[in-house]
């Protein structure tokens, strides 16, 4: 189990500072959502944690009692399935073994599409395959970069339930970047609001699962929304 630790992390592209002195500690097995307007730096923060971007200043560390490196996977906004590989081959690409690949496909409920080409699937199905691919690699940390942004409302709800269920089952650390406040409150234990590259709000969501849109839910939703719109 890995603790993600960011100390005074800044990230600039030329003169443009996208992240400014971010201090953040994320507990193993937790589900954290990062919300904010477009261009607030939330995706950059995710890419920094995935080590796809170099940090300009500060440190990023993963502490654990085993001392090994964590396995980090990303579910991208687009599915990024390889078009010339069948569905099962796409999942096997990241899988620890082929048996696990098949189990993951079963978990996302698309085992009958095993030999199809990605182009034969709908957008929602492709994202489910992308989720299966991420799970098959048995990640320590799974980063979600607005993976549901392009899906229709009903498919989104289905995917949210699926992600929640699989997270509870496999106990990886989840970090979700989204601009959808409802989605953040629906899924996360903790919601972080980012604006102009700094953390504006760090809110613990204390609601039982599965979550219903009751009064407390709306309270959190409103509080976070006010922060984003007012900030």
């Amino acid at each position: 189990m890995f603790n993600i630790e960011l100390k005074d992390v800044s990230k600039s592209y030329g003169d443009n500072e996208v992240l400014h002195d971010i201090n953040l500690s994320i507990e193993p097995g937790s589900f954290t959502a990062i919300v904010g307007r477009s261009g607030c730096g939330k995706s950059t923060l995710l890419r920094v944690i995935a080590q796809l971007e170099e940090i300009s200043k500060g440190t990023l560390s993963f502490s654990s009692n085993s001392g090994s490196k964590p396995k980090i996977r990303i579910m991208f906004q687009d599915d990024r399935l390889i078009p010339w590989k069948s569905i099962i081959k796409n999942i096997e690409l990241g899988a620890i073994n082929n048996e696990v690949a098949e189990q993951s496909l079963q978990k996302v409920g698309l085992i009958d599409k095993k030999t199809d080409w990605p182009d034969q699937l709908s957008g929602g199905q492709k994202q489910r395959i992308a989720l299966a691919r991420a799970l098959a690699s048995n990640p320590d940390i799974l980063l979600f970069d607005e993976p549901l942004g392009a899906l229709d409302a009903l498919t989104r709800i289905e995917m949210q339930n699926l992600i929640e269920g699989l997270w509870q089952q496999q106990e990886f650390t989840s970090l979700l970047v989204t601009h959808d406040v409802t989605e953040a409150v629906r899924l996360a234990d903790r919601v972080i609001v980012i604006d102009k590259g700094t953390i504006q709000l760090d809110e613990k969501i204390d609601l039982p699962r599965p979550r219903e849109r009751d009064e407390k839910f709306t309270y959190y939703e409103q509080k976070i929304l006010n922060q984003i719109l007012g900030g």
């Binding site: 796809l52 991208f76 990024r80 390889i82 010339w84 690409l93 990241g94 182009d119």
Partner: protein, 259 residues
Amino acid sequence: MRKGRKWYNNRLVPWILPVVTIILWQLLVQYKIVTTTLLPSPLEVVEAAIKLSKSGELQEHVYISTQRALIGFAIGGIIGFILGLVNGTVVFFERTIDTTIQMIRTIPHLALIPLVILWFGIGESAKIFLVALGVMFPIYINTFNGIKNVDRKLIEMGSVYGLSRNKLFTNIILPGALPSILVGIRYALGVMWVSLIVAETIGADSGIGFLATSAREFMQMDIIVLTIVLYAILGKLSDLIAKLFEHRLLKWHPAFHKK
């Protein structure tokens, strides 16, 4: 299958125009509207083909030409492919080699014939050299561009999922460039025959081009037309084989999905 299929989707339809042309051609010659000294009738061409194949001459010439074409294609194709691969993947080589290749590419390779004859004489190597040179560039450019245009997002995904450099290359970069490489191969096959025809016409003692030039000296119109038809058939045949490869290798592509 969908109801009310258009009549022109029938498999025989593409052959209507060639067949009608041949019939028209036969009639024009038969009724002396065009004289046989200018244009032999299709039947005469077929007769010439039968006569030449009985003596085994025809097969020999076709065999020799095809052999030259394929050897040249293999040499030029492999060089072009390797250069495209290396320049497409290693920036150092791209910076040092690409511009030079692009400069050489703009020279029409057939313009080198006088030089090639002085270098190689009129033997086999001259013809193979010309074919190889002509074939190299389309394959180079399409391999190079194919690799350069592989979806960066897929490559990023591959590295996030921990693929090694080799696996990244064989699973993502090479198959991603394949459609473009196949376009290069199809184009190169056309260049291959053109180069060979010109090379064989200039100096050869065998091959289809030789057959044509020697027939010209004896005014054997039927054989001249026969050689032209032979090139057409060989060209179509190689294109067909290339298409077959395309269908096999790109069966994942939406354009080739079974309906």
